[in-house]
């Protein structure tokens, strides 16, 4: 460094490099420090509006779902129930349902029958306690129903916001898309903290208390299946579903990612997903892929099955099929 002769300065004493502290410089320094501190406090003032209990020490110290001891998990479930009752006036039951042995869930959707009524998208909202600003606001629904032109399966030409007087329109057909619970799930692979993973029954879940909100999984998903809580969920008490579970439809904090879990609080309890129950045309088929006698196994064996974006190599557990 500093080989250039023009760089050499006459060496100075320390006193020449910086002047000693005098009463005058000390006072000036103190005034500047006070001004800086006042600026810092003013800058941070919005933090006073943070709600009490929004960031607690317990939350910060909580371990990953899969590392929790049963008694710790029970304590957390009771706390979450109390929080829901306190904030929304609804006393929920929050359970922790484990995957059933010998079960791998699969879902098939009959594109010949679907009429695009969006009842599934609305039922999803009611079942899963997503944020919504009005009854018609289905942005956070885990199901996006696409309207496509007959003659091709061209997503690029699809319309998500179709709004005709009646459905189905004659020259159109409809394709609901939700999480495909992929066997090679790109979303779980990219998560830097393993806050999202695949369970033994194939369902991809999120630990909302572990997610750091980086949204890398959203960038990775080829099916636009993930939603982010850009704000604290907007929920009316009357619309809250009290039948909840830790890994699925309990009320989410702001700043985390959520997604379809095949309604695991229902399906691991022997019921069908909410979107299937509400479908007026019977376009939806749900069941155990490992059971050769299940309806889903029959469809995969006998129907013309279409896999959305098969080229991406995600190996979905969600299938589309056509009637003859």
């Amino acid at each position: 460094m500093n080989e250039n002769p023009q760089n050499s300065v006459s060496p100075k004493t320390i006193e020449q490099v910086y002047q000693p502290v005098t009463r005058r410089t000390f006072l000036k320094g103190t005034a500047a420090a006070m001004a800086g501190l006042a600026g810092l406090v003013a800058a941070l003032k919005p933090l006073l509006a943070l709600e009490r209990g929004e960031m607690t020490l317990d939350d910060l110290l909580q371990k990953h779902y899969r590392e929790l001891k049963p008694e710790e998990l029970q304590r957390i479930l009771r706390e979450l129930e109390a929080r829901c009752a306190r904030e929304h006036g609804v006393q929920p039951v929050i359970r922790d349902l484990k995957p059933l042995p010998g079960v791998e869930f699969g879902y098939a959707l009959n594109l010949t029958r679907c009429i695009g009524c969006r009842k599934c998208a609305h039922a999803c909202l009611q079942e899963n306690n997503q944020s919504r600003s009005s009854a018609d606001d289905i942005e956070m629904s885990y199901i996006r129903v696409l309207e496509l032109k007959k003659g091709a399966i061209n997503l690029e030409e699809s319309d998500l916001y179709y709004n005709p007087q009646t459905v189905p329109q004659k020259d159109k057909y409809y394709m609901p898309v939700q999480c495909h619970q992929c066997r090679q799930a790109p979303c779980t692979k990219v998560c830097p903290v393993q806050a999202t993973w695949q369970e033994a029954d194939g369902i991809v879940v999120v630990d909302y208390n572990w997610c750091i909100g980086c949204r890398y999984c959203m960038a990775a998903c080829p099916y636009d299946a993930r939603r982010f809580n850009y704000r604290k969920p907007n929920l009316q008490s009357a619309r809250i579903n009290p039948n909840q579970s830790y890994l699925s439809n309990r009320i989410r904090p702001k700043g985390v990612v959520e997604k379809c879990t095949f309604c695991l609080h229902r399906t691991r309890d022997g019921k069908y997903p909410a979107c299937l129950e509400v479908c007026p045309t019977g376009a939806r088929v749900f069941g155990n892929l490992l059971d050769p006698d299940s309806e889903i196994s029959y469809i995969l064996k006998n129907k013309r099955v279409y896999i959305l974006k098969e080229d991406v190599g995600t190996l979905p557990r969600f299938y589309y099929f056509f009637d003859q």
Binding site: G29, S158, I212, G255, T314
Partner: protein
């Protein structure tokens, strides 16, 4: 030990001494940083809804700036290679400025990632044993390692050399030369890994492209040296540290070559996308020409291309042998590449969405304030580092001034 504490104390003291221009500049940067912090505090309370991001466009200005700045940090290597591999003595006079810039810029990168998180208070979930680090599966965890590693490498090299200089002892080679060579490879890795963040996503065809990392590096080696050239001139105008023309024109040569490669790769990309357009070209179509009446990025990208072309034209002609022409080229390249990496690379990855929807993105005012705040903070950090480092480098701050004052400065 006590000598080191004295050193630190002197650094603190000298940090607060300067001309009125220095005070004015630092005050301005502090105020802008605080405005950014205020905007961020609002975002913490209200959530990321204060940004323009949506479920469809889930990354925006924060990640765009992050990506650009990783490139700038990596470009410090373009000072290190001529200095340490080609042994250009004149580069040794300035190589430290590049390393210090890398430190400031990496800190800006980490801030940009932090403000993008929905739950920044859970960052310890990434740090074992408190958390679970998804390594080697997640490229983001690789990025955390390479960025922090690069930060530590540069802190060590710059800190060690400055301290030796302050004590007027010859630095011991084995304490820093190995790290210098590691940092060269490491610099390439930070930008490559950051490119892999995007390239690794098979569901986003706009990013899933082997050319992306090469273009990242090429454009970084334009934007980084361009910023350095501008900084060198500020230093030689305002501070008592002479920087000759050789480092500046060495960087000009590097910029020129990198810019030619960058534009060549851009041409390859455009040919592939548009000669036989597939459905996968929709994002590129949206970026350059608009799609179905949506053309939010068209003005941005053509501005970037024009600036890139102007920069290239200035660089390859004798105009940039004059300092004014070179400065013009640097500004054009920095702005052009900043747009290209931000609005031109991150946003079109999300538009159209994987299901074909077109949701456009524009940063909000609050989001812009946070970005400006981080830039100001980075400038504050770098200005402070230069303010401390330059008196050490030109010999006016040294361990034993009374001894030194009786002899000529040794080197």
């Amino acid at each position: 030990m006590s000598e080191y504490l004295t050193f630190l104390w002197r650094v603190v003291r000298i940090s607060f001494q300067g001309s009125w221009k220095f005070y004015a500049w630092m005050t301005l940067l502090s105020v802008v940083s605080l405005v950014g912090l205020h905007a961020y505090a609002r975002q913490v309370v209200e959530g990321l809804e204060t940004t323009g991001m949506t479920n469809q466009v889930s990354w925006g200005a924060y990640i765009a700036n992050f990506t650009f700045l990783v490139g700038v940090a990596a470009a410090a290597v373009m000072l290190v290679i001529p200095a340490y591999i080609y042994k250009k003595q004149f580069m040794h006079e300035v190589v430290l400025f590049g390393e210090l810039m890398a430190i400031a810029v990496i800190i800006m990168c980490l801030l940009f990632v932090t403000v993008d998180l929905g739950h920044p208070e859970r960052f310890h979930h990434m740090i074992p044993p408190f958390g679970i680090f998804n390594f080697p599966g997640s490229i983001l965890s690789w990025d955390v390692i390479v960025l922090n590693g690069y930060l530590l490498l540069n802190l060590h090299i710059a800190g060690y050399l400055l301290y030796c200089r302050y004590r007027q002892t010859q630095p011991t080679k084995k304490f820093y030369i190995p790290f210098v060579f590691i940092s060269i490879a490491w610099a390439v890795s930070i930008h490559t890994v950051t490119a892999f963040l995007y390239v690794g996503l098979a569901g986003r065809s706009y990013w899933h492209h082997p050319l992306v990392p090469s273009r990242f590096l090429a454009s970084a080696f334009v934007a980084g040296p361009a910023l350095m050239i501008l900084v060198f001139q500020v230093i030689r105008r305002f501070v008592r540290y002479w920087i000759g023309d050789e480092p500046i024109f060495t960087l000009r040569m590097i910029m020129t070559v990198a810019m030619i490669i960058n534009m060549f790769l851009l041409g390859c990309e455009l040919f592939t996308e548009f000669y036989s357009p597939t459905q996968h070209a929709a994002a590129a179509h949206y970026l350059y020409f608009g799609l179905h009446g949506h053309n939010g990025l068209v003005a941005w990208i053509w501005t970037a291309i024009v600036l890139d072309l102007v920069g290239l034209a200035l660089l390859i002609t004798p105009i940039s042998r004059k300092i004014t022409g070179l400065n013009l080229a640097c500004v054009a390249c920095v702005v052009g590449i900043w747009i290209e990496k931000g609005m031109g690379l991150i946003i079109p990855g999300f538009v159209p969405s994987p299901l074909g929807q077109i949701v456009e993105y524009l940063p909000t005012f609050n989001e812009t304030l946070v970005c400006v705040g981080i830039w100001a903070f980075g400038a504050l950090l770098y200005s402070w580092m230069l303010h401390v480092a330059i008196p050490i480098m030109n010999g006016s701050l040294r361990a034993r001034p009374e001894i030194a004052s009786s002899t000529q400065p040794s080197s």
